[in-house]
């Protein structure tokens, strides 16, 4: 069994120097005098990666993921501990770093390829394949400053994966780009993995972690929370979303601290009953902000019927208020909202203003987005509520907020979403059944109309309470 990456007791303290010269003094002066204060970006990380394995790294912003990758790539030195990376490394810490906008695509391919360690001849040999993969044949002789960001990224990525590395390190490089190209990159990863190459990838996509990684490392505040089967780690991570409860009310109990959970993997797939225990009603979850250079979140509030909260009851109204500061006007932006399953990462519902035919004006300066959902019929569980501001086509993301919300539901109906049901049971025994049917049917509908909408005409059911029905379903299920 050969190890591709072997990390033992890795610690990185970012020295906070008041002046750069202090760093020099430390390097040059003999002895171990310190001229700095320390910020611990990574503490005592141990993990090993076998050849041909794909390892995902998850964690909130600032948890040390990028630092870890930079150390693995060799651009940062560890403070303590040992890092062994065996074989040729290609690090995609930032796609296209080193591209010169004035030069043509072809010239940049050569330069970037050589930067990544290929010789001129090797780039020449692989040039056709690189070009084919990038799908920008027609523009290869144009300066890259004329490229769209998608083209730019495709070209950079394409070069990087043709370096023939033994170890590939990818830092969120896939978070941009359209769906089709992302898929292509992931397929390529799959092939590379099949060829026995080792891949380390930071991703915020549960799909990538679960479908493409063997193991996953979960970092929180520079420490490894778990390093285990990707499927399980991802489930726990996305379920928890690194949430440090911000407002645990007395009585909520501290029995769901994330550290304990990975040890409890055996009971992971038991569904709703377990989930119910994991969702103390009054627990608050912290929103995760993902800002860009263009947009910065100023305020993010989720409100239920009784003010700001992250705990809801099925059929509650949900209002999301999101204040964003924009660095430059966005003439063709779009904004949307999405609910994802924290279990599978699968979107349960996603839409955007443009999708719903809402005109989006030019956004600039301080913008307040307001999403008002009069009735959210999600059943008991935790969901990832996500709001985004993107460009028109949803390809470039300007800002995003991820917020875990929990829903509770007093009934025993189960699944993901509460759908309204009209119940009707009758015994049809005699010849006048047709007339009776019509009468009864009308009567049922009218009585089911919600109290909040007394004027609703027959045939529209708005908010029925199915007390009788629930009673019967409880009997059935027990």
């Amino acid at each position: 069994m050969t190890l591709a990456v072997d990390v033992k007791g890795l610690t990185k303290a970012y020295p906070l120097y008041h002046k750069p010269v202090h760093r020099l003094l430390e390097l040059v002066l003999p002895g171990k005098r310190k001229f700095h204060e320390e910020f611990w970006a990574l503490r005592g990380i141990d993990f090993e990666v076998e050849r041909g394995e794909c390892v995902g790294i998850v964690g909130k912003n600032g948890s040390g993921k990028s630092t870890l990758l930079q150390i693995l790539a060799g651009t940062l030195a560890p403070t303590q501990g040992r890092v062994d990376v065996h074989g040729k490394v290609a690090a995609l810490l930032e796609l296209g770093a080193g591209f010169d906008p004035e030069f043509t695509g072809r010239e940049n391919v050569f330069n970037y390829g050589m930067t990544l360690g290929m010789s001129r001849r090797e780039v020449e040999e692989r040039f056709d394949r690189i070009l084919e993969f990038s799908e920008i044949e027609d523009f290869i002789e144009q300066p890259v400053k004329t490229y769209s960001s998608g083209m730019f990224m495709r070209l950079a990525f394409s070069v990087a994966i043709h370096v023939d590395p033994e170890v590939i390190i990818v830092d969120e490089a896939l978070s941009v780009g359209d769906f089709k190209f992302q898929q292509k990159c992931l397929d390529r990863f799959h092939d590379l993995k099949a060829e026995g190459r080792t891949i380390l990838v930071v991703s915020h996509s549960i799909g990538v972690i679960q479908n493409y990684c063997d193991r996953a490392l979960w970092l929180r505040r520079g420490e490894a929370v778990a390093y285990d089967n990707a499927e399980l780690v991802a489930r726990y991570y996305f379920n928890d979303f690194d949430a440090i409860p911000v407002a645990v009310e007395p009585g909520a109990g501290g029995d769901t601290t994330p550290d304990e959970k990975p040890g409890d993997l055996s009971s992971s797939a038991e569904g709703d009953a377990r989930d119910a225990d994991l969702v103390p009603r009054s627990e608050g979850f912290q929103a995760e902000l993902e800002d860009s250079e263009i947009a910065r979140t100023l305020r993010f509030v989720v409100e239920g019927p009784r003010g700001p909260t992250t705990s809801f009851t099925t059929n509650d109204p949900v209002i999301v208020i999101w204040d964003v500061e924009l660095e430059k006007p966005l003439p063709a932006a779009n904004y949307g909202i999405c609910f994802e399953s924290t279990e599978s990462g699968r979107p349960l519902f996603a839409t955007s203003a443009r999708n719903d035919g809402v005109t989006v004006p030019t956004l600039e300066g301080h913008v307040r987005f307001r999403f008002s959902l009069p009735r959210v019929s999600l059943l008991r569980g935790r969901y990832l509520l996500r709001v985004t501001v993107t460009n028109e086509r949803g390809i470039t993301m300007y800002a995003r907020v991820n917020q875990v919300v929990s829903f509770d539901h007093p009934g025993l109906d189960w699944g993901i979403v509460r759908l309204d049901v009209d119940y009707n049971a009758q015994c049809i025994g005699d010849a006048e059944s047709a007339d009776v049917h019509a009468e009864l049917s009308n009567a049922t509908r009218t009585s089911a109309a919600a109290p909040s909408a007394p004027n609703a005409s027959a045939g529209t059911t708005t908010n029925p309470r199915f007390d009788t029905a629930r009673e019967s379903s409880r009997e059935n299920s027990t």
């Binding site: 120097y17 030195a77 810490l93 010169d100 004035e102 330069n111 050589m114």
Partner: protein
């Protein structure tokens, strides 16, 4: 760490640099062509600038305020003075171009430090390489001028042997300054002043002879560029071969400084990521 244990012997260093020659070449090309991309005259700008400076200096120092100390053998012809000046200027330019922006070499490229695994050591080679190419362009003009206004000497063939140690010396200093520049941000500013003063404390505008005040002459002799400028004039215009002993000594010193500079750069490198 991620690479093999470094062969830091001089041969190991040379081998490492040679291994990246493809990239080095490409980056030199980039520097040369990229700087002028989009301009009509393109790379000719790198000729026009020194020529213009030469014209200005010739007029100012040769005509408007004739230098008190006439170089020996220069009988006042403006062409002779221009050639005399150009010999010194292009040699000094090689030094100042290499070292001038050395401090910002690494600092200005944070993405190379943090975002790609980039062989940072070749940046210095690129810098000196570009300066050498510019030197070569200028030398072609100088050569033509000597051919037209004076006579060519066989000793011109010594040129590579004299310029090589100067370039190697510059390389070593560039490594050193590039590494220091990351930590000492003041250095970038001060180096410009030092180089400006250095040009006048080198026999660029005046000959190194008995007419110089003794104290000043001692100062000029301390300038490492002095020897090279003097020898350049000897081989190009006087037909004199360089003193072999000094030449061998300077080769040795240059190689040592280059090696030391490289080691210093490597030693400081782990800290780059922390402060860029």
């Amino acid at each position: 760490m991620t690479s093999l244990p470094l062969a830091n012997t001089p041969i190991g260093v040379a081998r490492r640099l040679a291994g990246r020659w493809d990239l080095t070449q490409d980056l030199i090309y980039r520097e040369l062509v990229g700087r002028y991309r989009g301009s009509i005259l393109g790379i000719f700008w790198s000729l026009i600038q020194p020529l213009f400076l030469l014209a200005i200096y010739t007029v100012v120092f040769g005509k408007i305020m004739p230098i008190r100390i006439k170089p020996e053998g220069v009988d006042g012809s403006i062409a002779d003075f221009a050639i005399f000046l150009f010999c010194g200027m292009i040699t000094w330019n090689l030094v100042s171009e290499s070292i001038g922006s050395a401090c910002n070499l690494v600092v200005n490229r944070p993405t190379f430090v943090k975002k790609v695994v980039f062989p940072l050591e070749i940046l210095a080679v690129v810098q000196v390489g570009v300066a050498l190419v510019h030197f070569f362009f200028a030398f072609v003009i100088l050569f033509a001028a000597i051919a037209i206004f004076q006579e060519l000497h066989l000793t011109t063939l010594w040129l590579p042997v004299i310029i090589a140690p100067l370039a190697i010396l510059c390389l070593g200093l560039t490594w050193m300054l590039a590494a220091l520049g990351v930590f000492l941000r003041d250095l970038g500013e001060s180096i410009g002043i030092v180089l400006m003063a250095g040009m006048f404390v080198a026999p660029v505008f005046y000959p190194l002879d008995g007419n110089l005040p003794a104290l000043f002459k001692a100062l000029v002799l301390c300038n490492p560029a002095t020897w090279f400028i003097v020898q350049m004039r000897h081989i190009l215009t006087d037909g004199m071969s360089p003193p072999l002993l000094s030449l061998a000594f300077l080769w040795a010193v240059s190689l040592l400084i280059a090696w030391g500079g490289f080691l210093f750069f490597e030693r400081a490198r782990p800290g780059f990521g922390d402060v860029t």
